[in-house]
């Protein structure tokens, strides 16, 4: 219990130092802090939970390799991890050029009726498709800012862009999505 309290209080750099020293008890805190966000980010690029979890795991494996040479004054861990997740996801996406929609059909609508569930599933698929059809950098900017709730500075750092360039990508991406998803938006207004 004492250990857990210490973990929560530890900052990322301290946890990485412990990992570099071979203290594996530092992992649970890092995994709890970052696993979900890495998987979500990868899933929004790849559309497949299994692959997204592979990406999240690979991020931690790479962190283990990086721990010994970690520079606390470099990019914050969160930025570094997102950058690795984004790059791995892009590599995978480019490699396969196809997309699984399996995970879009998350069964979260139990008890609301089959028709409503089908409709919601269709809406998700269309949002997924519209996001997928965006140019890569626009999609990534939207994933990081809209879905991951990153600040402009954080997202710009992950994508190695200026804040102005990020804003431009976001505006163009949202404009395309608004055009593409106008009928879904209208559908949602009726609900």
């Amino acid at each position: 219990m004492e250990r857990l309290a210490f973990d929560r209080a530890d900052n990322d750099d301290a946890l990485i130092r412990r990992i570099a020293d071979g203290d594996s008890s530092a992992w649970p805190a890092l995994v709890e802090r970052y696993a979900t966000m890495l998987m979500r980010c990868a899933w929004r690029v790849l559309g497949d939970r299994s692959e997204a979890e592979d990406v999240a795991q690979e991020c931690f494996v790479r962190l283990m390799g990086k721990a010994a040479g970690w520079q606390p004054d470099g990019a914050p861990l969160k930025t570094w991890l997102y950058r690795v997740a984004v790059n791995l996801s892009i590599d995978r996406k480019r490699a396969r050029r196809t997309r699984s929609l399996d995970d879009v059909a998350e069964p979260t609508d139990e008890g609301r009726g089959a028709l409503g569930a089908d409709r919601r599933l269709d809406q998700r698929r269309r949002v997924r498709d519209a996001l997928d059809d965006l140019p890569e950098r626009q999609r990534l900017a939207l994933v990081l800012v809209h879905y991951e709730g990153m600040s402009q500075q954080e997202a710009a750092a992950v994508l190695a862009l200026t804040v102005d360039a990020l804003e431009s990508l976001l505006a163009r991406g949202r404009r395309r999505l608004r055009e593409r998803l106008a009928d879904v938006a209208a559908d949602l207004m009726d609900e």
Binding site: W27, M39, A56, Q57, V104, R124, L142, Y147, M189
Partner: protein, 145 residues
Amino acid sequence: MQTPMSLDRFRSIVAAYGADPERWPDAERDAAQALAGRSLDARRALDEARRLDRTLDRLVPPALSSDFAARLAVRLAAPVERPPLLLWVILGPAWRVAAMALVAVLGVYVGLEVERRSTQIYDDQEIAGWMSGAPDTMDEFLEID
């Protein structure tokens, strides 16, 4: 004293970041919210952005698998896989250059040697030496009594 925001800038912010003030740039959030409070046009832009936000929020991510941490623990504890060209990885850049140079030199040597042997012209004395122990007849060659 806060600088008032123009409607154009407000529209740009909302077009890029959507309707949720949490996503707006920190430095401009207060001014943007103040404008939204007094401008009908700003609120219209906000409503339009909110519709898209709501649509995008339809894409709900799945939860992390319950065995994620256990699988990761196995992966982190596993010995690092050694690639087949381990030596190549271990060797630093200077050694890699030296290794490549060595391979190149060996390749050239082997190539020249093969070429030399296949085109060598032997003199009569060398040929006579080889033939001195050779059988005189085909039967002898085949060791037929």
